[in-house]
């Protein structure tokens, strides 16, 4: 089985490492992205970036930035999904995207009845969904549906806050009686929870929704479960935050870490031609969002190389949870969990190197290249 390639042709691991180190040595601005790996892989990716002066981002950080930006602009109420599942007696689902991208998690939270809390346990769980498709995928659940197009959600949230604050209202996307129904639903929560997809609402919409939840907490208890289309991007953002101080989109090539959510976004680096070398890490289930780019690339992937333009150097790597033990971000837990080689259920562990091992070897090879020069 081939495990490394140079310009699309099978190569030994040693030759490929040497070729990759050579490319990094010549690069003026490397980008380390994709970042679809376990925590050990993230750690070595950041170590490599420090070593070679790289910019670091995750291929799907667009999916988490609306939440990150809203949170750091104005704060948030956040609930653990498992706690909301046991406690929330009123659940409001805002928009369609949460169910589209995180349907399993949403259904897991809303199924069953609350069993914690005097105020919540006695009542049957109420579910209300505001959106254009009427939460069609919540089959079987007793859902009150309020029709509202995606473009109107932010207006509706603003009106709702105004209504709850007792302000006079102008005309909005839903009739005043509908608005009153939503307000009544929320006000009667023992412990309420709002489920939404930050990506759908954008930064301002997310801020508006978190503001609504903050308002509701003046009288009763409320929290939120944001549904992120690409949870591992959030895990990578958390790792980046403790390692570099910032949630991805960082440049580790300067004396102090620089963070710029626009400039150091992988998409901008690639499409704008800011980078001349991409080190692309892709070792998780599914596919990452890889923008087209003319930059030279080094690819670490757990899938066989696809036909088409071959990267300058490619490595086959193991997949955490299938081929080796590791730590991944788990949205149901809202934190990191250990995974073991067997938990993927796809058979025996492989001999392929992990992302962490391969990047460690690559970083060591950089030292060898530097010494030889």
């Amino acid at each position: 089985m081939d495990i490394a390639w140079i310009d699309g042709k099978p190569a030994t691991r040693e030759d490929a490492l040497q070729a990759a180190a050579g490319l990094i040595g010549k690069s003026r601005q490397p980008l380390i992205a994709g970042l679809r790996t376990d925590v050990a892989g993230l750690r070595t990716a950041f170590d490599l970036a420090r070593r070679c002066g790289g910019v670091v981002d995750h291929c799907d950080s667009d999916a988490v930035y609306p939440l990150v930006t809203a949170l750091r602009d104005s704060g948030a109420f956040l609930g653990a999904p498992a706690e909301m599942r046991r406690r929330a007696d009123k659940i409001l689902i805002v928009g369609d995207r949460a169910l589209e991208t995180g349907g399993d998690l949403v259904r897991w939270v809303v199924e069953g009845e609350p069993d914690l809390g005097v105020r919540t346990r006695a009542s049957k769980r109420g579910i209300m969904a505001i959106g254009s498709n009427g939460a069609a995928s919540l089959e079987g659940a007793d859902v009150t549906r309020i029709a509202c197009e995606a473009d109107d959600l932010i207006d509706l949230l603003g009106l709702l806050r105004a209504q709850l604050a007792g302000h006079r209202l102008g005309k909005g996307p839903v009739a005043e009686e509908e608005l009153g129904r939503i307000a009544e639903f929320l006000k009667h929560a023992g412990f309420g929870c709002v489920i939404f997809a930050p990506e759908e609402l954008g930064e301002l919409g997310t801020e508006q929704l978190l503001g609504l939840v903050s308002d509701l907490n003046a009288e009763t208890r409320f929290s939120t479960v944001p549904i992120l289309a690409v949870p591992d991007a959030f895990g990578a953002a958390l790792y980046a935050t403790w390692s570099s101080g910032y949630p991805l989109r960082v440049n580790l090539g300067t004396e102090v870490v620089q963070h710029d959510p626009a400039l150091y976004a992988a998409s901008r680096q690639l499409v704008g031609g800011e980078t001349d070398l991409t080190i692309w890490i892709d070792a998780l289930e599914g596919e990452g969002n890889a923008p087209a780019s003319s930059a030279t690339s080094i690819v670490l992937s757990c899938e066989p190389p696809s036909s088409g333009d071959a990267p300058a150097v490619a490595f086959a790597v193991a997949k955490p949870g299938r081929d080796h033990d590791g730590v991944l971000y788990e949205p149901r837990f809202g934190s990191f969990v250990p995974v073991s080689a067997s938990s993927g259920g796809e058979g025996a562990a492989s001999d392929l190197p992990t992302v962490a091992t391969l990047l460690e070897d690559l970083t060591a090879e950089l030292g060898a290249v530097a010494k030889a020069a």
Binding site: F77, V118, P247
Partner: protein, 546 residues
């Protein structure tokens, strides 16, 4: 390799040593002086320098979900957490695990305890600690607002069953002790209760804060966990109610060991026209009269910081004072918590009095082995302010200069100006080395006797205590020179100190069922396997007392 630390002023209160002499280190530990004539492989001239064991911080929020949220929330205020060159653009420097390890080491701290690890965030906390260089780390795991413990108390389950649950939690999460934060208060807040006292009862469970604290205190003692139950009392920061709560908790110790955290935040009365006054003296007297109780201070210092706490009720109440005006409140399983930025202003009567109350407590609690040196980092102030606090404790003149700069009304409300006590080096070493090691049960450190790990801090003494403690002349970690002239010269990774008490097998099966049936999550998600840490030999097990 034999290293000789030559001719230093060795201050080692655990071994009654306070004199000039040599110290020998071999293979990472302190050894007896070799026979005369044996040449050392390495010699560090410590003439004129002060030699102490590496310092131990028993309560500093350095890792975990809430700490990381604080980083996430405040990209613009990362400068609160570190000293840096004046010309550096402040907005571009992060407050990271890396900086945490380096800055601590530069001050001669070699062991730091993260005191608020939720069982559900144990792996996250340990992953951050594994990325924190040089220092050894430990954690306290948080119980006391969790459904299972309160249910067990309500159902009248046996003390041994409860101890088994505590043992499983400590062991799975790789903790060094147990902390209880506003016992029952966070759970009550989920029921929309907005004020919770020591004898109030958590709705639905029918158990009081007192019952929870006493139950956990008993379990911790029965399991032989060396560190007594670490308690964050009810009503933190509330004038009057805070001091009532801590008084009730101290009295509830009833002769058994109990540690009370950041007590400065409970030294508040309601006297005066602003309804805010110092109860520092009364609180110090209570502590002096209760030798079974240990405390740490949570000193406030001026400047921007952020409060990080699993006391969700308190953080919710405090969010109105957030500066800048944003906060994150978590409703997690059990405790939850909150992150609220805070700017303590020298010109504010309230903040200035908080500063004075902390120092009153430091100086009026007589036994330096009973009171521990903390700012509750970053809640009272970032740990980078420690050198200034050492100076305030050791020099009355420095205190007076700070006091003179405060609003005049403050001087009338504090006895600080009249307190003459100045901490000696020996007392500083007791408070930051010998006593913390005893409190945590980590007998291999905190002293310089034979067999101690060679975690050693060497300082250049002088009139300016801030300079002395800000930049250690040398620091050895496990015998290796890691800091010279206040700068890190060698990066390495320390370990996490943990207990591994055995839980009954039946408890393990019960918890597998409990987490699966009640929360829909596997119990193994709360366990921290060694492979997950990704460092060689990441843990060091500290024995429980038999």
């Amino acid at each position: 390799m034999l290293t000789r630390l030559k001719n230093g002023h060795v201050v080692d209160p655990a071994n009654d040593r306070d004199a000039v002499g040599d110290l020998f280190v071999k293979d990472g530990v302190v050894v007896a002086p070799p026979p005369s004539g044996t040449a050392a492989d390495e010699e560090i001239d410590c003439s004129g320098l002060v030699v102490m064991a590496g310092a131990i911080d028993i309560h500093s929020h350095i890792a975990g979900g809430h700490v990381n949220t604080a980083r996430l929330l405040l990209p613009e205020y990362h400068q609160a957490f570190q000293a840096r060159p004046g010309l550096t653009s402040l907005s571009k420097v992060g407050w990271t695990t890396e900086e945490t390890g380096l800055r601590y080491a530069e001050m001669g701290f070699t062991t730091v305890v993260e005191p608020a690890m939720a069982p559900t965030a144990a792996l996250h906390a340990h992953l951050e600690l594994a990325d924190t260089p040089i220092i050894d780390k430990a954690t306290l795991v948080v119980l006391g607002n969790d459904d299972l413990l309160m249910t067990m108390i309500r159902e009248g389950e046996s003390e041994s069953a409860i101890a088994d649950y505590v043992a499983w939690t400590v062991s799975s999460s790789r903790a060094l002790g147990v902390k209880c934060i506003n016992a029952g208060g966070s759970a009550a807040f989920k029921e929309n209760v907005r004020k919770f006292d020591f004898d109030d009862v958590v709705p639905d469970y029918g158990v009081s804060s007192r019952q929870i604290v006493k139950t956990l205190q008993k379990a911790v003692g029965d399991l032989g966990i060396p560190h007594p139950l670490h308690v964050h009392c009810n009503n933190l920061g509330v004038p009057g109610d805070s001091s009532d709560s801590i008084e009730a908790t101290i009295r509830a110790a009833e002769g058994d060991p109990l540690h009370l955290a950041h007590i400065q935040f409970y030294g508040y009365g309601t006297e005066g026209k602003r309804r805010f006054s110092s109860r520092g003296q009364q609180l110090a007297e209570l502590v002096n009269a209760a030798p079974e109780v240990t405390v740490d201070i949570g000193q406030v210092m001026f400047g921007q910081t952020v409060t990080i706490s699993s006391d969700e009720l308190r953080q919710f109440a405090g969010r109105g004072q957030a500066s800048p005006k944003k906060s994150v409140i978590f409703d997690h399983e059990a405790n939850g918590g909150g992150v609220v930025p805070m700017n303590y202003k020298e010109k504010s009567f309230f903040n200035a009095l908080q500063w004075a109350i902390g120092l009153e407590l430091f100086l009026l609690i007589e036994n330096p082995a009973q009171v521990f040196f903390t700012t509750d980092h970053p809640n009272g102030a970032p740990f980078t302010t420690y050198p200034d606090i050492f100076a305030l404790l050791m020099d009355r003149g420095v205190r007076q200069r700070w006091l003179d700069a405060l609003p005049k009304a403050v001087a009338k409300m504090t006895t600080l100006g009249e307190i003459e006590r100045e901490y000696t080096l020996n007392e500083i070493a007791t408070m930051t080395r010998a006593a913390p090691a005893r409190l945590l049960g980590t007998t291999d450190r905190g002293h310089l006797g034979e067999g101690a790990v060679a975690d050693i801090a060497i300082y250049r003494p002088g009139e300016d205590k801030t300079a002395m403690f800000g930049k250690a002349a040398y620091v050895l970690k496990d015998g290796e020179l890691v800091v010279k002239d206040g700068s890190v010269v060698k990066r390495r990774y320390g370990r996490a100190l943990t207990l591994r008490p055995e839980a009954d097998k039946a408890m393990k099966s019960r918890l597998d069922r409990y987490f699966d049936e009640k929360y829909g999550i596997p119990a193994r998600w709360l366990e921290v396997p060694e492979h997950a840490i990704g460092r060689t030999d990441p843990f060091k097990v500290v024995p429980c007392r038999s």
